[in-house]
């Protein structure tokens, strides 16, 4: 069998931290080869080795049977290896063609020859069914199309081995389907693909073989047709994974959060939360299901004091907290796992230890008279890092930026839960995480509930809401359209509610709200 790429026994070390240890990956010509591993398992490191961004300490790389030394990305390009990065590397106010030729601009009498380049882009687009307009500006096109521009970029440079790094992370379901078709098309045209992902269903759908790595170790390669998601998940995390989280029946007690006819507007003054009522009791998890953009963000921001309330009341343990400053609200007993961990959850340029102190840095015993005791900060951080299994290169001193998404999230959850709040708000707590991390986070949320805390979960994933919540409140167009019991509902019913069809509508034609 002909291999186009062979990475044999690769080892890469950063200081004392072994990111890759004896990993072997062999890519056959014309296959889609998935590279599976948890966040932080070493997938990106391995691909950066292949792409020439890192030099391995040990191991061999062969391309089309020949030993090669890939010293920088240019060498990789020349060998026909192209990479579609997770975060696109595009200049927003340049056109598609300008972006594609960036770095190797074709010239004609000293000026850039855009026309010929655009023609070539058009041809590539048609050959592979990518449907990209060479003259469109990047800022005007959808995320899915931007990704296709990245694909053309690699093709334009003559790549026949394409690495996709978590390509579906920012795509809509339709765009994901399209991408899968494009990948199959690329294979038909004789390309070979490495697909980096932790999404099992995608692997099952498109890949031919899967190489699994766990904590930097190569676990092995399996043929997709001969495996199943459960087995893959086990290989990935090294133990059995329960897709359905076990939990005992809830035992709701007194009301912790009470929201009474709340209205909130967004930055443009448009009312996003309309007359919303919601109660969360101690010892229960209320899940808010809904399609993105139906007022979830504004609702959380209003509860936590980050956004002004237009009208209505928010009560915590019977005390009115409407319009208080964020710190006062935090101190009155709310823990908040924000939906965007990079924007709100972390100061990425701070060490992770300092981030763990983000809500308590000003309080005793961490600080006294305005002076922070960093020894105590690091002690506390180490405890949380250990308890919540936050993995990083240099422990509490690692920059938050250098941690993988799952580990960043675990650190945030540790910080918020350890403050022992009465109400824990978890907004999209598992977005972009692998099954192992998701399971861990769900367990922690349920643990809080069992300790008698109130938990408010906001999620766009129906699975998650149905799995974790004791009650599901469906939000639509800024109000709670209905509250259902997860045991008594199904995805179809929730889907209808999320689309604005109240359950009475099914019986009463023309019913309102």
């Amino acid at each position: 069998m002909e291999y186009v790429i062979e990475m044999l026994g690769i080892r890469k070390q950063f200081g004392d931290f072994v990111a890759n240890d004896n990993i072997t990956l062999q890519l056959k010509k014309g296959e889609i080869h998935a590279l599976l591993g948890e966040n932080g398992a070493g997938k990106s490191t391995l691909m950066n080795v292949l792409f020439g961004l890192y030099q391995p300490e040990d191991g061999k790389i062969r391309v089309r049977g020949k030993d090669v030394k890939i010293t920088d990305p240019n060498v990789a390009n020349k060998l026909g290896i192209g990479m579609v990065h997770q975060h696109f590397m595009l200049v927003e106010n340049f056109t598609v063609t300008e972006n594609i030729i960036l770095g190797s601009e074709p010239t004609k009498a000293g000026s850039i020859n855009i026309k010929d380049a655009a023609k070539k882009v058009q041809e590539l687009s048609e050959t592979y069914g990518l449907n990209v307009d060479p003259y469109a500006k990047i800022e005007d096109i959808s995320v899915g199309m931007q990704q296709r521009v990245e694909i053309i970029k690699t093709l334009y440079r003559g790549a026949d081995i394409i690495i996709f790094d978590e390509p579906t992370a920012s795509l809509t379901p339709q765009e994901i389907t399209e991408l899968m078709q494009i990948m199959k098309r690329l294979i038909e045209e004789g390309k070979s693909i490495i697909l980096i992902t932790h999404k099992l269903n995608e692997i099952m759908e498109v890949s031919d073989r899967v190489t699994v790595i766990r904590k930097g170790q190569g676990i092995g390669t399996v043929i997709t047709a001969e495996t199943n998601p459960t087995e893959l998940a086990e290989l990935m995390v090294g133990r059995q994974v329960v897709f359905k989280t076990e939990k005992i029946a809830s035992n709701p007690k007194e009301v912790v959060l009470e929201i009474d006819s709340l209205s909130v507007t967004d930055n443009r003054g448009i009312e996003k939360v309309k007359n919303l009522n919601l109660t969360v009791r101690a010892g229960e998890i209320v899940g808010i299901a809904g399609i993105d953009g139906n007022g979830q963000s504004e609702l959380i921001e209003a509860i936590t004091g980050l956004r002004k309330v237009k009208s209505g009341h928010i009560k915590l343990n019977g005390k009115n907290i409407t319009g208080l400053k964020p710190r006062k609200i935090t101190e009155s007993g709310i823990g908040h796992i924000p939906q965007d961990r990079h924007k709100h959850g972390l100061v990425l340029d701070f060490p992770i230890g300092h981030n763990i102190a983000l809500q308590t840095y000003y309080k005793k015993p961490i600080s006294k008279n305005g002076v922070i005791d960093y020894k105590k900060v690091n002690e506390m951080a180490r405890t949380i890092i250990q308890q919540y299994d936050v993995r990083s290169g240099e422990g509490e001193m690692s920059l938050a930026r250098s941690l993988s998404g799952g580990n960043q999230q675990k650190a945030i959850i540790g910080r918020e839960v350890e403050r022992d709040p009465d109400l824990l708000i978890a907004a999209l707590p598992t977005r972009g995480l692998d099954v192992g991390a998701i399971e861990f986070i769900h367990k922690r949320l349920i643990e809080q509930r069992d300790k008698g805390k109130a938990v408010l979960l906001i999620s766009f994933e129906l699975d998650e809401v149905m799995n974790v919540s004791d009650q599901i409140a469906v939000i639509y167009d800024g109000y709670i359209i209905d509250t259902v019991n997860p045991q008594e509902t199904n995805e179809q019913e929730l889907g209808l509610l999320m689309a604005g069809q109240s359950l009475q509508d099914k019986n009463k034609v023309g019913g309102q709200k």
Binding site: L306, R327, K328, K343, V347, D349, Y362, S367, I372
Partner: protein, 349 residues
């Protein structure tokens, strides 16, 4: 190559390269580079007098460097250090000559006045940035011009139409007989001790206090800071105010030490702008700023000796000094070169 060795080698090689290119410039222009550098060396270290003058020259650079670096560390670009320094200079000069107090009160009061004047001058851009999102670079640049001409006008008012303010009272002066006799009557004053204290103060604020934690957090990520319950606007203003206070104290060094008055300025002093280079040389670290200021001040003062002793015109002197600083600032290039060198050696083995 060990990290430590690289860290020592980089600045040394940088200075050496700067000196070599500077020598070429002098040679091409028809001057003897060796004579030129001997004159530079003598201008820095020749005797106690020049050494005293060198330290005096370094002192205000420490403050302007700290002012820029402090703002940088909190995510702000304070180009208005020049104007804040001018206002501090004027305030200290006025307090120094207008009141008669015992020295224990007079010196601190004059210093305080300078710090407050600089802080107020920086408060305006801080406020505009926090409340109206006006970019601080634009406002601080403009505030420099305003400071220059407002100060000149006020000097006229204070002195009753003269070109300079009256000499400050002895009780407000940072000069001392002790330092003067020790350094052969140079203008060295106690300001360098205050500068060293300021270095420690900045380090302490940024590394040890909740205030520093907040200022840095706001500088890095406003959203996360707001989420954590910090008052973002307050912190932006405070960062500018503290930066401005450092700048104002730099002005006080001139008012209470070097000149003991303030003359009308025809143009910017340049100290504030050089502070940007000093801060960058010092990687925005307080102790780095101190080293940067020492290099900057020493070269400036030593350069003054080159025209008289070696006949190198001031224009060439400026070019040579700029080259040395340029190479120190571009230490990155040397770091890369050293890395390549280290790699090759490893491969040969």
């Amino acid at each position: 190559m060990s990290k430590r060795l690289v860290n020592i080698l980089v600045p040394l090689i940088s200075i050496l390269l700067g000196l070599i290119i500077g020598a070429i410039v002098m040679a091409v222009s028809g001057f003897n580079p060796i004579d030129g550098y001997v004159a530079l060396w003598n201008g820095i270290f020749m005797d106690t007098y020049t050494l005293g003058e060198t330290i005096r020259q370094i002192t205000p650079y420490v403050f302007s460097g700290l002012a820029v670096a402090f703002a940088f560390r909190t995510g702000l670009f304070n180009i208005g250090v020049e104007g804040q320094l001018i206002m501090g200079w004027l305030a200290a000069a006025w307090v120094g000559q207008a009141f008669e107090l015992p020295a224990v009160l007079h010196v601190p009061l004059a210093l305080l006045a300078a710090a407050v004047a600089g802080a107020l001058w920086a408060f305006i851009p801080g406020l505009l940035k926090a409340k109206l999102q006006v970019h601080e670079v634009i406002v601080t640049i403009m505030m420099n011009y305003i400071a220059l001409h407002v100060a000149n006008a006020l000097i006229g008012v204070i002195s009753g139409g003269e070109e300079r303010t009256e000499k400050i009272h002895e009780s407000a002066s940072l000069r001392s007989d002790f330092l003067e006799t020790m350094t052969d009557y140079s203008r060295l004053h106690w300001g360098f001790i205050i500068a060293l204290l300021a270095v420690i103060v900045m380090w302490f604020i940024l590394q040890k206090t909740t205030l520093g934690y907040e200022l840095k957090a706001v500088g890095f990520n406003k959203n996360a800071s707001e989420y954590a319950g910090m008052n973002v606007n307050k912190n932006i203003i405070l960062a500018m105010v503290i930066s401005g206070a450092f700048a104002g104290l730099g002005g006080a060094m001139e008012a209470l030490g070097t000149f003991e008055n303030m003359s009308k300025l025809h143009a910017s002093t340049g100290i504030g702008f050089d502070g940007i280079a000093v801060a960058l040389l010092g990687a925005n670290q307080p102790f780095g700023v101190l080293l940067g200021a020492i290099l900057f001040g020493a070269l400036k003062n030593g350069g003054l000796n080159m025209p008289s002793e070696a006949g190198v015109p001031t224009e060439i002197v400026s070019i040579v000094i700029a080259l040395i600083i340029f190479f120190v600032a571009s230490g990155y290039i040397i770091r890369v070169a050293l890395n390549q060198f280290g790699k090759k050696r490893k491969e040969e083995k």
